[in-house]
Subunit: 205 residues, 2 copies
């Protein structure tokens, strides 16, 4: 089993290589990759060695080859089917975020319990449906991921409905620890702010 | 210079210890801490050794002592003064997120260039002001952090105004790489989704 910290780093390698491809860079050394990601080159070589041989020492890695190979490892398939629960501020921001669609994350529908929101589109092609239809919708459309963007007190119940429908992963914004059998990835901007403030304090020295 | 990956882990130790305090746990072993964070216990011991001695082998760490000590290291001061630029979906969600205030992140004001939003409150006590006043406001109120929640094409200019006003750190939501002299922490939910989908693929085995 690969530790979660390795998976997070692999994702950051993948996203860094994506930008390098955009910049037209064809080969990159582990030292240069390490500099861009603020890591040690030995850490990158060690992480990649989990998955086989990628580059020859002294020559560097071929960006496109490494990008495609890591893509296979981390499961960058053509498309992931997603539902959004909670059509409020977070829900609307995610539904309208162009990068989702570009990266193969397709939101099929949004769900809410506020009668005034039902039947409206929170983004082109994304209809807000009644949360009571969530379980059936997930099952009938083989939805894989649920994004939980409801208030804390409603989040656990929403997670259970998603699981009953057959969801295989949850991205959670609500400030509660969800009890589920499927993997949950939590987003918390206060953690990002803590990393930022630590960086500020460090630079003050 | 401590690598950024160590700072991210330290922040996650701090947040984990915060939850342990809430649960009334007084002592915790590095093995138990490792299990909760999906890390290796040796990694935790190595990270903490950067900063001195914390616990005796076999006895574990005192949760409150470690929490306060890490808090000092990562700069958990009483309060960080923050401004929010962009009073749209993301801006409103952040302004109304109770966890910000609870953790000492105080939003003093929001800024926008949409005349219909100026003069309104996007959350209790957070007024939307004209973005042309941003630089002066930052300087006069010794604001430390700017949160950039504007469209991609406006983000670089906003970052420059923040820097001119004297900001020391930026939390960026816009999907562009900002060129600044101050540290920038980027938030990208597609990265969180990548980590989640990798976890799903791994479990499928
Ligand atoms: N993790 C972070 O960094 C972060 C940042 C901001 C907000 N948040 C959290 O994200 C969540 C959403 O925030 P927001 O600003 O979008 O809130 P919001 O109030 O704007 O939106 C919440 C939506 O959920 C709907 N809802 C409530 N109960 C429901 C239920 N049982 N089933 C379906 N829909 C339901 C509401 O009608 C509303 O449309 C909150 O829990 C908030 O605390 C997290
Ligand atoms: N990083 C992520 O995971 C993520 C997720 C969703 C959205 N986004 C991004 O976050 C940003 C905000 O998203 P949103 O859904 O809140 O968009 P939004 O359109 O709802 O809000 C943007 C706000 O910025 C204001 N604005 C535009 N130009 C400005 C300027 N020059 N100065 C001041 N204000 C200005 C607009 O008037 C609007 O109120 C966008 O760049 C979007 O792509 C990022």
């Amino acid at each position: 089993k690969i530790p979660r910290t390795v998976s997070k780093r692999l994702v950051s390698y993948y996203m860094c290589l994506e930008k390098l491809l955009d910049e037209g860079v064809e080969v990159i050394s582990s030292e240069e990759l390490a500099r861009r990601l603020d890591l040690k080159a030995s850490q990158i070589r060690k992480d990649l060695s989990y998955f086989g041989e990628f580059g020859r020492r002294g020559v560097g890695y071929k960006v496109e080859f490494l990008y495609n190979r890591i893509g296979e490892i981390i499961g960058v398939q053509k498309e992931w089917k997603i539902v959004l629960v909670g059509a409020g501020n977070i829900g609307r921001a995610i539904a309208n975020y162009a990068a989702m669609r570009e990266r193969g994350f397709k939101i099929l529908a949004a769900f809410d319990n506020d009668p005034q929101k039902l039947g409206t589109e929170i983004a082109p092609g994304i209809l807000v449906r009644d949360v009571r239809e969530l379980e059936d919708f997930v099952r009938e459309n083989n939805v894989e991921i649920g994004i939980v963007a409801v208030p804390a007190e409603a989040a656990q119940e929403v997670a259970e409905r998603l699981e009953k429908g057959g969801i295989v992963g949850i991205l959670n914004f609500a400030p509660v620890k969800l009890k589920t059998t499927v993997p949950v990835e939590n987003v918390d901007i206060t953690a990002s702010l803590r990393v930022l403030t630590f960086e500020i304090v460090r630079r003050r020295g």
